[in-house]
Amino acid sequence: MKTRNKLAGMLSALVLAAVGALMLSRNVSAAGEGKITGTVKLAGTAPHQRAIDMSKEPYCQKLHADHPVTLENVVVGSNGGLQNVVVYVSEGLPASAGGQVPSEKPKWDQKGCQYIPHVVALDINQHFLVTNSDPTSHNIHPIPTKNPQWNKSQPPGAQPFDVSWANEEVSIPVKCNIHPWMHGWMAVVKGPTAVSDGNGSFTLDNVPPGNYTLTAWQETYGAQTQKVTVAAGKPATADFTFKAK
């Protein structure tokens, strides 16, 4: 009995130590790196986003019968925040930085004849999963200029595609030829990157202290840049404003 308690005690101590060490090591690495946060806004009135007629695919049409899906070229939140803007560090990263490819695999889902998300930001060689949640076949047709093009069907219930891009490219248009209204973008950049959320806000993690050029890219309005300085242990802020045409 006594020995068993002892053993359990030693084991839990070991586990605790291990967990502590892990947390510590993460803190150590994060301590030296900063963060950039910010908001992207749209000045002016957003253009009218046309409703999409999905009558060709009766399943999707029925699915959206009550709330017709509209275009997603300019998606503005209630606070004027601009969604789906890719923000990334375009200049100033040390050559050593960003060498580590994130192990997290973002999902690129086809659901209700829409791409979810509409825009995805990826690191070079970062794997992502293409899935089909619809009971109909889709084809995924990215049309890159700096990466090899591919075009593959994904029947309902098929295994997800596990794919990646080898070269930097902002941004690769992706379309489904079977459902021509399905349209999305994949941004492939080296290093920290984020896509603005429904309020237009974004966070770039793991940015080491230094001076950078930050780029925000939006599918309709193009790219904007600004300089930003990240100091150790202090998040920097960078806000962008796009003008409606």
Binding site: D53, S55, E57, L71, P173, K175, N177, I178
Partner: protein, 267 residues
Amino acid sequence: MAKVFAVTVILIAIGSAIPILMHKWVPPVDISTHGPLIDEQLSETMVEAGISFLAAQFILGLFVWKYSNTPKSAKIRNFPGGATGLVTAAVLLVGLEAMALGIFGAKAWASVYFTPPKPDALKIQAQAGQFAFYFRYPGPDGRFGPIHPDLINEGTQNFFGLDPDHDPDSKDDIVTAELAVPVNREVHLLMHAKDVGHSFFVRELRIQQDFVPGLDVSVHFTANKTGRFEIVCTQLCGLGHYNMKAYLSVLSQPDYDTWLKQQATMQ
């Protein structure tokens, strides 16, 4: 064995004819004004082809039955009339029948292709691309704005490459994913292919016409029954060919007007 062959051939011939006589596998009910001519031509051809088919199979079976295993001592006999008779029969019976079919069938073809559409026919543009059809109505001005291929972008729903900011004719153009036409009104469909070859086929409308990239062709028709029908692509156009379709709605004039107004608001 010869008898088995004879019986089999005759049974196959009868068996093949039964589904035809049952009228189960026939083209769907026609909704066009020119369709009856085609349907009539189809049934006349069916009668002639059917008779030739049955006759040939029956006689083949019969002769195989009768002239196999003839004793060795039997003498070879020639078919009465010989080759001359058969050639005459082929030319007179089958050849002339076929030519007659062709001549009378030309009427049905002419009704679709040789009769120009009336000037007041409703002009609609159809565009085919991998793998969907889109349609364009000229709007109140009755004119289609020009197509700018470099502006075509399905991601922004600019399927036709229109530039309403610079082309006044494009301003009121109505682009739809469904083809709606008023009943009993002649429609002149202008067909434009965006990328590769496609085809416009509506079974009930008795219209099938390829879209030719680089060459704008047109068809015209008058639908005389209301309803919703499938438009399918029948020219192999790529991986989504099997799912390239749209719908044709034949509406009463008031319904059509309402529909068009509603579509105009959605632009």
